[in-house]
Structure formats: structure tokens, C-alpha cells
Symmetry: C2
């Protein structure tokens, strides 16, 4: 129950988070740390487990496409402490919306891709065996040699 918050070097943080030391310094400079990064002997950065936790959140937000300025804003709000929860919520909600619509867009795109994959699979399969009209797809995904152009989307 003691564990007086062991301090971690930038290298250790890099290893734990998967971010590069470059990126860690860059993030610091961009104001993405809630509490200022302490310095140990020789001016070396010294981090805590809390920093790792926070970075984990940052990484997830970044992975979901939150731009650095937004992440920075969020960090600022958290640093300011209690009293701005509405704004934090608003920010998170907005991001939530963007992520869901991004997932939607991707899912839609995936439909086309899946379709095209299927078209080529059929094409190659029936190319392999002699002939014989097996299950075919509605056609229209062959991209170019469609003889009558206009259906190649």
C-alpha cells in the first residue's frame, strides 16, 4: 500500500505506451500533459504511472481521429479541474459523433470492397474450372472490361 509513485524515464514511458521518445517530447510541447512533466537530476524528464494512464487515454482519442488541438483543449479542461465538466462533455460528445459517423462511412465503404472482392473471387474461380454458370453476382464490379461502359462502378 506504500508505492510512493515510482518515477519513470522517458524511455520507459516510450516502451510502455508505444509512443516514441520524440513523440513524447512533442506531446509535452503541445501541452498534452495534464500536470507539467517533472524533472529529475540532470534535467531529465520523470514520469509517473498517472502519466501513462493519461497517455493511454490520449492514444485512444488520437487513434479515433481526435486532432491534437482538440486533445489539447480537453487536456486544458482537465488541468483546470472541476467546474468545466459541461465543456468536457460537449467535447467528448462531439468526438463521439464524429467517430460513429466515421465508423458508418467505413462500414459503407467496406460494403463496396467486400462486393468487389466477391466479384473477383467469382471471376477467378470460374476462370479456374472450365466453365459452367455457378452462382454469379449481379455483375457490375468488373471495373473496366464491361463492354457496355457505364456500369463499372
Amino acid at each position: 500500500m506504500a508505492e510512493v509513485t515510482a518515477s519513470l524515464s522517458i524511455g520507459q514511458i516510450a516502451e510502455r505506451t508505444g509512443l516514441s521518445v520524440h513523440t513524447l517530447r512533442f506531446y509535452e510541447q503541445e501541452g498534452l500533459f495534464v500536470s507539467p512533466v517533472r524533472r529529475g537530476p540532470g534535467g531529465r524528464r520523470s514520469y509517473t504511472e498517472d502519466d501513462v494512464d493519461w497517455l493511454t487515454v490520449c492514444i485512444i482519442l488520437r487513434a479515433s481521429g481526435m486532432p491534437l488541438p482538440a486533445l489539447r483543449r480537453y487536456t486544458d479542461l482537465v488541468r483546470e479541474g472541476a467546474g468545466n465538466e459541461e465543456e468536457r462533455l460537449a467535447l467528448l460528445r462531439e468526438h463521439h459523433g464524429r467517430v460513429t459517423s466515421q465508423i458508418d462511412r467505413l462500414t459503407q465503404s467496406l460494403d463496396l470492397i467486400t462486393f468487389k472482392v466477391g466479384v473477383y473471387e467469382d471471376l477467378l474461380e470460374q476462370d479456374g474450372r472450365a466453365a459452367g454458370p455457378g452462382r454469379r453476382r449481379p455483375s457490375g464490379g468488373g471495373d473496366v472490361p464491361a463492354s457496355r461502359p457505364g456500369t463499372s462502378a
Copy 2:
């Protein structure tokens, strides 16, 4: 049934696809057109409906994160015509995989975001009414004023 493939100007294409004229010229330069863009009087680009169809595919592939070089490669394969379907399929499959894993990542991220939104909603709601312990979440998403640090991820 006639419709001798009316030719469209770059401006019309821009309007139809939502790409800017800049981007259309840029894409052409990047080799993202299957057939070379024809030129009308005065050297003006003249497109067909087929180009629109192809661009639509390109837009979807781009929207799902396919990098320009990959898109270019795919375009090259299509331009070359029949005989390279395996490679097209491989390319599409690879992209398919990347898109699905991207969707997975986003969905995971969304979980955290949703959770945090919930935390702040609860917090603000119970802040609004006097007190009374309504349904609460397991806590741990409050970011910073957690008194005992180390649980703020």
C-alpha cells in the same frame, strides 16, 4: 438508347463528385484515371460518365483510407486489363483487412468515449439535483480529481 457519352467539363465533374478541380487535376497527374483524360477544344479536359463512375470508386477507397499509391496501383491493374485479377483481388483483400481492423479499433475507442460521456453525464446530472445516490457508474473516468491518483484512465 443513343446517348453518345456526353462529355463533361472539369467543373461539372467537380460538382458531381464533390472533388475540387484542383484535386481532379492532381489525381490525373497521380495516374488515378483508367483511361487518359481526353482533351476538347483549347486543350480543355473532357470527361465521361465512366470517369464519374471510376472516381466514385476512388472516392470510396480513399474514404476508407487507401493511400494514393495503392489506389494508383489498382488503377494501373485495371488499365492493363484482363489477366491480373489475382493481384487486384489481393490488393482489395488487403485493403479489406485494413478497413475491418480500423473499424475494430474505432469501435474499441468508441467504447471508452461512450464510457467517459456517461461518466460526465452522471456527474452533471447528480450535480444538478441536490444529491441522492442515483445509478452511478463504476467510477474511474473522472480524469483528474480522483484524489487517489492512478485510476484516471
